[in-house]
């Protein structure tokens, strides 16, 4: 399997990468870990003419603390997230999620920025960025802007990142009480259902991936929550018409699993 021909440019700075994106428009694609993009290119389902490798840009793979936030460079690998002391102590839900992604080899290469930008409807991170109310910081030719997680995912493989923009960092509030629960598809090991729950005071925030074409905040669950897991029955409220279906899980079963996993995450 060989991708169609393309030119490869290793960007050394964010501004260089943005300039290249601006210049080449939709002929160009960004390459970070490449674990979704390269297989798609080999199957010739994706055929960019220019690949802009951003994995070597310095400063994009740090994990730092900024007041009550943890700032994660978009090029941080899943493995780096699993192994970060800071994340393990102050944003454990994210470390827990990263451990569920792919396998050792994939975690060693795949990045959080790449995964979010790809917006696979069955990826794991979306549930967590939603539940944590994380902010995705992007930079483009008009400068930098911050996109709230709830405004980030627009549909299957679709986000609100503009064509000339790059995710530079993801800013998470510190989370003391959160967890991610996943029921994986037995072949791909992507989420059939992935539920992230963050508990704050008497309230709860719930992010759901894998269930609908777009990952979502289960606001109906959040509104109904009163300290126990009964609210799980509202897991798919509002997305009933967008439930995904395949030979592993039809809509009925997926809806059931969503309730089971919301309950599980609420009880964890």
């Amino acid at each position: 399997m060989i991708p169609a021909k393309f030119d490869y440019i290793k960007a050394s700075s964010v501004s260089e990468a943005i300039g290249l994106l601006d210049k080449h428009g939709d002929e160009a694609k960004l390459l970070s870990g490449g674990h979704s993009l390269i297989p798609a290119m080999k199957l010739r389902l994706s055929r960019p003419e220019i690949l802009i490798d951003i994995s070597g840009i310095s400063g994009m793979n740090s994990i730092t603390e900024d007041g009550n936030e943890i700032v994660i460079g978009a090029n941080c690998t899943h493995a780096a997230i699993c192994n970060s002391d800071l994340i393990n102590s102050d944003l454990n839900i994210l470390a827990q999620t990263a451990k569920c992604i792919g396998d050792i080899q994939v975690r060693n290469r795949g990045t959080i920025g790449g995964s979010l930008a790809h917006a696979d409807p069955a990826a794991d991170y979306p549930a967590v960025v939603l539940a944590c109310d994380a902010n995705i910081v992007v930079e483009g030719k008009n400068g930098s802007r911050t996109i709230a997680a709830t405004d980030f995912f627009l549909g299957i493989f679709t986000t609100s990142i503009a064509e000339d923009e790059i995710i530079t960092t993801i800013r998470f509030p510190k989370v003391a009480n959160g967890n991610y629960q996943k029921f994986f598809q037995s072949a791909s090991r992507f989420a059939v259902v992935g539920v992230a729950v963050v508990k704050e005071g008497s309230g709860v925030k719930v992010g759901v991936t894998g269930v609908a074409g777009t990952p979502y905040r289960a606001t109906a669950v959040e509104n109904a929550y009163s300290g126990n897991s009964d609210a799980a029955s509202h897991a798919i409220e509002g997305v009933e018409d967008e439930l995904m279906s395949d030979h592993f899980a039809d809509t009925t079963y997926r809806a059931h699993l969503a309730k089971v996993y919301v309950k599980k995450a609420l009880e964890a």
């Binding site: 399997m1 060989i2 991708p3 169609a4 021909k5 393309f6 030119d7 490869y8 290793k10 390459l31 490449g34 674990h35 390269i38 297989p39 290119m41 080999k42 199957l43 690949l51 490798d53 994995s55 493995a79 792919g102 396998d103 050792i104 080899q105 994939v106 060693n108 290469r109 090991r189």
Partner: protein
């Protein structure tokens, strides 16, 4: 595109097309055919090598991406005729049959044991989730890695 990288301790420089994967580069340009291609889309793990010390699927990495990196392949595991303790353990425990997934298994096992020198059976199995074996049923691969852990820790 010109790349230069260190493979099994030796520096190699070549002009490669950007679309050539690291696995293809190793196999076709350098004749390091121990790195196998089973699915070519990062599903099976037969192509696992170490890039700067971390297990990586070489089919889903372009050779140009690893310019300047240090690569270790299965050919670099043994010390001359003396096999690495993980290789020895696979032989001792019949951890391979047709041998095709074996290089990837050994390279992944090395990553598992580097990060967790005393893994439980469950941790080993979880660590191998990116590697298919169709012959052994994994039983003896798990035993091999347990055995290798003992040897490496002694």
């Amino acid at each position: 595109m010109q790349i230069s990288l260190k493979i099994n301790g030796k520096t190699h420089s070549h002009d490669v097309e950007p679309r050539i994967s690291l696995a293809q580069y190793l196999r076709e340009t350098l004749s390091l055919t121990g790195t196998h291609i089973g699915c070519d889309t990062s599903g099976c793990g037969a192509c696992t090598v170490h890039v700067d010390g971390a297990a990586t699927k070489a089919c889903t990495l372009l050779a140009v991406q690893v310019d300047g990196c240090e690569i270790k392949t299965i050919e670099g595991m043994a010390n001359g005729n003396e096999m690495h303790p993980i290789q020895e353990a696979f032989k001792e425990n019949h951890g391979l049959q047709c041998g095709f997934c074996t290089p990837g298994m050994v390279m992944t096992a090395a990553d598992i044991l580097k990060n967790n020198p005393n893994p439980t059976e469950e941790e080993i199995r979880h660590g191998l989730e990116g590697n298919f074996c169709r012959c052994t049923g994994y039983h003896n691969i798990v035993k091999s890695i347990q055995h290798a852990a003992e040897t490496l820790n002694s």
